[in-house]
Symmetry: D2
Subunit: 118 residues, 4 copies
């Protein structure tokens, strides 16, 4: 739908890592802490759309900036979580997405959400 | 800690978008559906480390591949969620991270998690 | 809608506490572990309804038992989490619900989800 | 640890149901909306303990009231979610807990978190 501006996962990882180092915050960034932080931010995302039915516009216009900020927060913490648990998230994506493509061949799953429900 | 392989957010967005289009799955990818899917995958991440104390190794070695796969799943769905709600996630990151840097100046927040708790 | 069978929060707390004691599992039941376990189970709940639009039946009939089991799991772990963090969940409910009633007077919030969105 | 004050799940269900009816809020209380609301509140719980290591006190004293309020919010919304999806949460507990007891016999799982990890 929208093309994203050019930016690599690694560039984000590096900036977030530098940010934490400069503040001596590495001590707080254990995988479990970061996971709880991800969940906290996901909760903020959910807060924005929880009372909206499917007929409402997806995101209330007056909450658009909040929505973007919260998605960014989840991304930042997810990348930090991968980094702090020794995961190369780019390679993890490549690896996982190949599995997904193999699991859902186009012809067998065209237009069907059957797969979702077993 | 670990450098990520070079890969852009946009490359992932494009691949996931093509994948959905080829299967006619766009009909299932409303923002709220994708958000619930993100949460479902975050739950899988939490499942791996829920019973481990801080003294245990962060990730049990026999769950390492699951861990990487689940983090990748969260990333895929988060990028898809941004895409389907009209958010350029790269720009959202730039915008939000500037706010974060302004909010936590190095000298005032060095080594302190005070900020975390109010 | 459906009346619940008579059962107190305390009865559940006691049974879950005994269950853990008999298996010497108290060592695993720190508040943060239990919180991650709650999140893991909430993820299972989300998994059941993530791809369903609002026009679909709320819960797919073939997933009804899973749905009930997962809600029960969340309840069990939530009560255990309260117990292990020294919270009397019954009193916490009374206390909080009074605040909610004061915050949303009937006449001012009748039929309005305005309140939800600021 | 702490005994809970006597209060039944049904009493809470009834009060929350009356509260919604008096405000004509039933229209907002679809299962998926309530699930997103539960997740939003779980995020608030996570926010309180996310940066604390296992050596810190479980809950910061100055956040104790928030902690209790947030746990209560999760309970309220969980009970409402069960009610609005036609689930008798008391019976669901009985049903599920019997399965759990059968799955983890005392003698086989004494002191072991092995079970947790497969």
């Amino acid at each position: 739908m929208t093309a994203f501006k050019d930016l690599s996962l690694e560039a984000i990882r590096q900036r977030v890592s530098d940010f934490a180092k400069e503040r001596d915050w590495e001590q707080f960034h254990s995988p479990r802490n970061l996971l709880l932080a991800v969940i906290s931010e996901i909760g903020e995302v959910a807060e924005i759309v929880r009372w909206l039915g499917d007929d409402d516009p997806a995101i209330p216009p007056e909450r658009q900036e909040d929505w973007e900020d919260e998605l960014a927060d989840v991304l930042i913490l997810l990348i930090r979580l991968a980094d702090r648990s020794g995961v190369d998230l780019s390679s993890a994506f490549e690896h996982k997405f190949k599995k997904v493509e193999a699991k859902y061949p186009k012809d067998k799953f065209y237009g069907s959400n059957k797969k979702y429900n077993e």
